[in-house]
């Protein structure tokens, strides 16, 4: 089986694509309760899909999940002074903690789509980043440190504008 981790599964569009590979076992993180409920229903049809109602972050804690007017939910708070911030609390988990708890030794594909938290998600792998084979990260700002982080940890990277709904190109990464 191939192990796929999807951080920020949202409404499951990409999740369904992953599941077309009959050898794929998908672990999808989605902290937004509405979208989690949708995915959870989907998981009843796909035994190879496990949906977790957590956000991935640098700590195994609880943090506020901020809800934006465009429907996005993110751990990243709105800019200070931009008005009252609406949020609910969500459980967060590090990816290395998750891999240990669920006995995941190797990850064939890591997909990250979590507005402005992509660096923290990668950092949450700790040394387990060595167990990641390849993946794709959505970027939400041009000055992201993600490319440098990935290169520093031995990945090749390239920009990928396919299926991209942010203002910046996604980053595909893979081991040499």
């Amino acid at each position: 089986m191939k192990t796929i981790i999807e951080v920020g599964a949202h409404r499951g569009t990409e999740t369904l694509n992953f599941l077309t590979d009959h050898e794929a076992e998908v672990w999808a993180f989605e902290p937004s309760l509405v979208e989690f409920a949708l995915l959870h229903r989907l998981s009843r049809e796909y035994p190879r899909l496990t949906v977790l109602p957590f956000a991935v972050d640098i700590g195994d804690n609880q943090e506020p999940l901020f809800h934006r007017e465009n429907g996005q939910s993110t751990l990243q708070p709105p800019a200070f002074g931009s008005g009252a911030a609406s949020f609910t609390m969500t459980w967060t988990i590090r990816l290395d903690t998750f891999m240990q708890l669920y006995s995941i030794g190797h990850v064939d594909y890591l997909r990250i789509d979590a507005p402005l938290r992509e660096e923290m998600i990668l950092e949450s792998l700790g040394d387990r980043i060595n167990d990641i084979e390849r993946g794709r990260v959505s970027r939400y700002e041009q000055r992201s440190a993600v490319p440098a982080f990935l290169c520093d940890h031995g990945f090749n990277i390239m920009s990928d504008t396919v299926s991209n709904n942010t203002l910046c190109p996604d980053i595909k990464f893979w081991r040499s």
Binding site: D60, Q76, P77, F87, T88, M120
Partner: protein, 266 residues
């Protein structure tokens, strides 16, 4: 006099009894309950009957009320620091792995540090009375169990001798300073906490009462933190960094219990 350990409990009997077992053999355990009912195992009930496991109830709490950590910790300080100079404070859902090695770790370091804190907010801390004397009370203007711990830790960081602080804080506002290795013994993921079948975290307890879409109690705490420090708690980096222009609070602290301050902290 043995080291006291105050357990703050929220109607989570399995977690509470696990906690008593982790601390009962090397500290004097005392319970501060935010719920009117306590369920103890028969062994722990015997300790209680023998007077070895005192239980104090938060008389302001109510089955319908939500938790209020800042006030609870202050209550524990009131009760504990009348006749002691140090204590352990721990929330009931904190799992301790290998309590004997954990005991050794704390006992080996408690004379070096006046505060040992971590790894997830106010779930565990060892403190000396001098910290309360120097920094003051938890700020009870933080409702629920949100922001009050970060506020108190930030004030400690700003006002206390940092060589006497050991902090290992893994929240997104956290930082590490003089780490003694708490993280090896205290996991913070949900699986470590949710051992009661009906486990409810304090944040979700509040959401059950005030609604999951607009959590005005926690939002009040975040807004108050912003007003006080000039930056949001979450997402702006470690609270130890003074990169927001002001070293101090923009809002004056309150001496919540001046009679105690005058009599026991001066």
């Amino acid at each position: 006099m043995s080291l006291s350990c105050w357990i703050l409990t929220f109607n989570r009997p399995a977690a509470l009894n696990r906690q008593i077992a982790a601390f009962g053999r090397w500290t004097g355990v005392k319970i501060f309950s935010n719920h009117p009912e306590i369920q103890l195992t028969s062994e722990h009930a015997d300790f209680h009957k023998a007077g070895d496991l005192p239980i104090l109830y938060n008389s302001l709490s109510d089955p319908e009320a939500t938790s209020y950590c800042a006030r609870s910790w202050n209550n524990i300080f009131l009760k504990g620091f009348k006749d002691q100079d140090e204590m352990i404070c721990v929330q009931d859902d904190t799992q301790i792995n290998d309590w004997e090695r954990f005991r050794d770790l704390i006992l080996a370091n408690k004379d070096r540090y006046d505060l040992i804190w971590g790894p997830g907010g106010d779930q565990f801390f060892y403190m000396k009375k001098k910290v309360l004397q120097t920094v003051g009370w938890f700020d009870e203007r933080y409702l629920g169990c949100y922001c009050g711990d970060a506020d108190w830790l930030k004030r400690i960081w700003q006002q206390y001798d940092r060589t006497k602080l050991s902090v290992y804080e893994t929240h997104d506002w956290g930082f590490v300073h003089n780490d003694i290795g708490l993280g090896r013994f205290i996991p913070t993921h949900i699986q470590s906490k949710a051992i009661d079948a009906n486990y409810v975290n304090q944040h979700h307890e509040i959401e059950q009462v005030v609604g999951v879409n607009t959590n005005r109690i926690l939002e009040h705490s975040q807004a108050f933190y912003c007003s006080k420090w000039g930056h949001m708690l979450n997402g702006t980096g470690p609270i130890s960094q003074n990169r927001f222009g002001s070293d101090g609070s923009l809002i004056a602290e309150i001496d919540w219990y001046p009679w105690f301050t005058q009599k026991y902290l001066k």
